[in-house]
């Protein structure tokens, strides 16, 4: 028998308490002395079973995460139950943080509500692998097949922008017991599983990260001169004899033995197991260090991008210190920038000055000491952290690391991989300067950086602009994102980190061309503010012109010149900007053009004006 953790959220109206009561009751997990309290005549008031603290009972609401334990013949279940109202986003997030699955309830009469959406989005954000959508109160709609499929279609459409491995939509009546634990005879048109059998049959190992071997050292134990490094295997696995690297020292060694807490030696420790390691060589290791397999290391970052879910009544203070708890490591950090606030019910972004209780926002975090991270959506263990208020000690926020690392860390990463140190490289200075070249040519070379969605008209505008500038007597060269991906950038994909590297290389190439006296027109989607900022820094503020091709998404999608939107909508392409990946609009572009309302020559004319 193993353990499945799942979360639920919802309000009294959804019938959530009745649903949980039903699940406990039908699996035989209610003691008779508790049962006596809920029997009113021949009716069961199942909801009473899960009511919480007295204060909450009086208010008629549940205000915190309550944990329930029950078991079926196949599996132990730990249910983290939280209220569904917006005011309890932090509770929902806490409940979802360790969940293998989330169950959302939809009232078949009322349909999909904001609360349903909020809860699904939070579960998706916290990387819960599986979602069960229970369409409840089917008894009130006479087990209507058409009503069920209508709601299923509506939900499926909404869930396209979420990142679950699997979504199961199940018609139930918690009150009368249909399709909760027992298959209903009243839904002959439904061929799927009951809620219980779905939860029983989830293959848990498949949902865990078994690739990236990570072992944060929790304690160092000593026996004579022998030292044992104790901790949990957060992801991946380790075998005796594996070559390992210790972070942050970067020293290497081999695993000599793996010992269980009862003193028995084993050959291999897999994900989630708690063991002690000994190493072949004497190494100085303490709590908060991380042992990893040498050929697969996490990123050591001193700056990172993260989504924060704000937990504290006291709002976020930018540029002020917080404690950062990450795996077994504690350090301090400062939130330097708040990029946007996320409306969790529709995934829209808003500008904001701060984050208040239950707000979710994207930030840049600077750390006093490096932490060793993987992106949260790849690794919950090394991708998560909490912020703790240094004055009150309150847990202020939960953080999820986003796969995009700063320029400084990227450079250090490259140095680490290549094994040499950048300070050994000295610049070779030539006799001909940029100014010399510019005075011969009679003008200054610039870079025009066109950013916008796929299909917004970047390439078309670039081509026309190149022609006009060339005809006007300038040396000009076009760097097109797609073209570069055939050569210079052909080793890069579309992950956040690769997108960042794509921009970095393009910006470096532009800088060289500018230096050579050539004006450059770059057309890249470049969806992230931070990457464009990096490009500006590389190229130089005085040479960089940001042009926002602001053609609306709907128009771009209608044009769909490469058929990519269609594929993205069908789920064939993931991480597609505008559909399944974000586009951060430039806040202060030098020029803004819109090819859906302007002619080509109007757009080109606007750009030429900034000369």
């Amino acid at each position: 028998m193993d353990i499945l953790r799942f979360s639920t959220a919802g309000s009294v109206d959804d019938g959530k308490s009745t649903f949980i009561g039903r699940l406990l009751y039908d699996t035989g997990n209610i003691y008779t002395d508790h049962l006596a309290k809920i029997k009113k005549g021949d009716k069961l008031s199942l909801a009473v079973l899960t009511d919480g603290l007295q204060a909450e009972q009086e208010q008629g609401i549940t205000i915190d995460v309550a944990y329930r334990y029950f078991q079926s013949k196949k599996r132990r279940f730990i249910l983290a139950d939280s209220p569904g109202h917006e005011r309890y986003t932090r509770n929902m997030a806490t409940a979802a943080s360790t969940a293998d699955a989330t169950v959302v309830l939809i009232d078949a009469e009322k349909g999909i509500t904001t609360q349903t959406k909020r809860h699904s989005c939070i579960a998706s954000l916290l990387a819960v692998p599986r979602l069960v959508v229970a369409i409840n109160k089917m008894d009130l709609v006479n087990f209507s097949e058409s009503r069920f499929f209508e709601l299923e279609a509506e939900f499926t459409k909404f869930a396209e922008k979420l990142s679950f491995k699997d979504v199961a939509v199940i018609p139930i009546s918690a009150l009368e017991g249909d399709n909760v634990a027992d298959k209903s005879k009243r839904t002959p048109w439904y061929e799927g599983k009951t809620v219980l059998s779905y939860l029983e049959e989830i293959h848990l190992i498949a949902d865990k990260n078994s690739i990236d071997a990570r072992f944060p050292v929790q304690v160092v134990l000593r026996e004579g001169t022998k030292r044992f490094f104790g901790g949990s295997v957060v992801s991946g696995g380790f075998s005796v004899g594996d070559e390992v690297t210790i972070l942050p020292s970067l020293e290497t060694s081999r695993i000599k033995s793996i010992i269980k807490t009862d003193g028995k030696a084993i050959d291999r420790a897999s994900v989630s197991s708690l063991v002690n390691f000994t190493l072949e060589d004497e190494r100085d290791i303490s709590r908060g260090d991380m042992i990893v397999r040498s050929h697969n290391r996490p990123h050591a970052v001193s700056e990172c991008e993260a989504m924060l879910i704000w937990f504290d009544e006291k709002p976020l203070s930018l540029n002020r210190e917080y404690f950062v708890f990450h795996t077994t490591k504690q350090t301090r950090g400062i939130v330097r920038e708040l990029s946007y606030l996320l409306d969790i019910t529709n995934l829209k972004r808003k500008n904001a000055d701060t984050l208040g209780l239950n707000d979710i926002g994207r930030v840049s975090l600077e750390l006093a000491r490096p932490i060793f991270v993987d992106p949260y959506d790849r690794n919950r263990g090394t991708g998560s952290f909490i912020l703790v208020d240094v004055e009150t000690n309150q847990t202020a926020a939960a953080g999820l690391i986003i796969e995009r690392f700063s320029e400084k860390d990227r450079k250090e990463e490259i140095i680490r991989k290549q094994g040499h140190v950048a300070t050994n490289i000295t610049e070779s200075k030539g006799e001909v300067s940029r100014v010399d070249r510019e005075s011969r040519l009679g003008y200054k070379a610039k870079t025009f950086w066109l950013t916008g969605l796929s299909g917004s008209g970047k390439s078309t505008v670039s081509v026309a602009l190149e022609r006009e500038l060339f005809d006007g007597g300038r040396l000009v060269y076009r760097l097109d994102g797609d073209n570069l991906r055939h050569g210079l950038n052909r080793d890069l994909g579309f992950s956040d980190a690769d997108r960042g590297e794509n921009i970095r290389r393009t910006a470096e190439a532009s800088k060289l061309l500018n230096d050579a006296g050539v004006t450059v027109i770059c057309s890249l989607i470049s969806p992230f503010e931070k990457d464009r900022k990096m490009a500006r820094e590389i190229i130089g503020n005085e040479n960089f012109c940001e042009i926002y091709v602001a053609t609306p998404l709907s128009v771009c999608e209608e044009r769909d010149p490469k058929g990519l939107y269609k594929k993205a909508r069908a789920g064939e392409i993931t991480g597609f900007t505008g559909i399944s990946a974000p586009y951060e609009e430039p806040k202060n572009p030098d020029v803004r053009i819109d090819t859906s309302t302007e002619t080509l020559s109007e757009s080109v004319g606007k750009i030429k004006q900034i000369f």
Binding site: Y69, L221, G263, R380
Partner: protein
Amino acid sequence: MSLLDELEAESIYIIREAFSQFQRPTILYSVGKDSSVVVHLARKAFYPMPLPFPLLHVDTGFDFPEMYDFRDWFVDKIGAKLLVYRNEEAISKNANPFDLGTFNCCDLLRTKALVNALKHFEVDAAIGGARREEEKSRAKERVFSFRDSFGQWEPKNQRPEPWNLYNGRIKKGEGVRVFPLSNWTELDIWSYIERENIPIVPLYYAAEREVIVRGDLLIPAVQTRSGNGLLPGEKVEKLMIRYRTLGCSPCTGAVRSTATTLKEIVAEMMETTISERSTRVIDHDQEGSMEKKKREGYF
């Protein structure tokens, strides 16, 4: 991973966090089965090193004699350091549940005594064997449960605990109760005791013992300073019984049982249809009494 391995790994992780994040962590040792499991897990957590923190027994003076015998034998066997604390002031005034009522007596001899004991020994992290499954108000309890400088628990002022990132930062005088068995059920405890062969007080095994039958309850017949605890019409009977949970002898109910081995106890637990705490007299005081006690600092 098996159920017990997974629970064990989580508990040891929590105990190691308590050890790493606090200055003076201490195990609250009630001599009961859950305490025995906590001590066993703590020993495993630091093996091959000796247990790095002491056990604290808050003694009401009303524990069963078998419990005191077991405590002394066990502590000696594992070579642990034992701290004992009693509310001597209340005990000298003859505090007892018959005169004061269970609620008031508990308040003096357990709750106040515990809060004072933690202050006295300067304990900043008290590691206890409470489980969320035991009782409604515990279902929302944190793993690191924050207590203010008066030892009080405020349900609205608890820190969220996402993932397994436990925040143990406190100011001087404040404390944390640490609950490594949060996710265990009573059946898990018994299965684990059987698997690991953990010693427990003999009262958990069935034997013929003298009890008073009162309604659904079987109350141990014990002689106290204020009498024999019999109500009019009641008499002492000798029955085959055992205890599912142990506390003060006047306030702990027994169950009829023939289980004399761990295997038989586990088999009995799998069949049982009544909850563990229904055998504790104290919960019959009033609805929500546990929550009240917790607010005031009870374990």
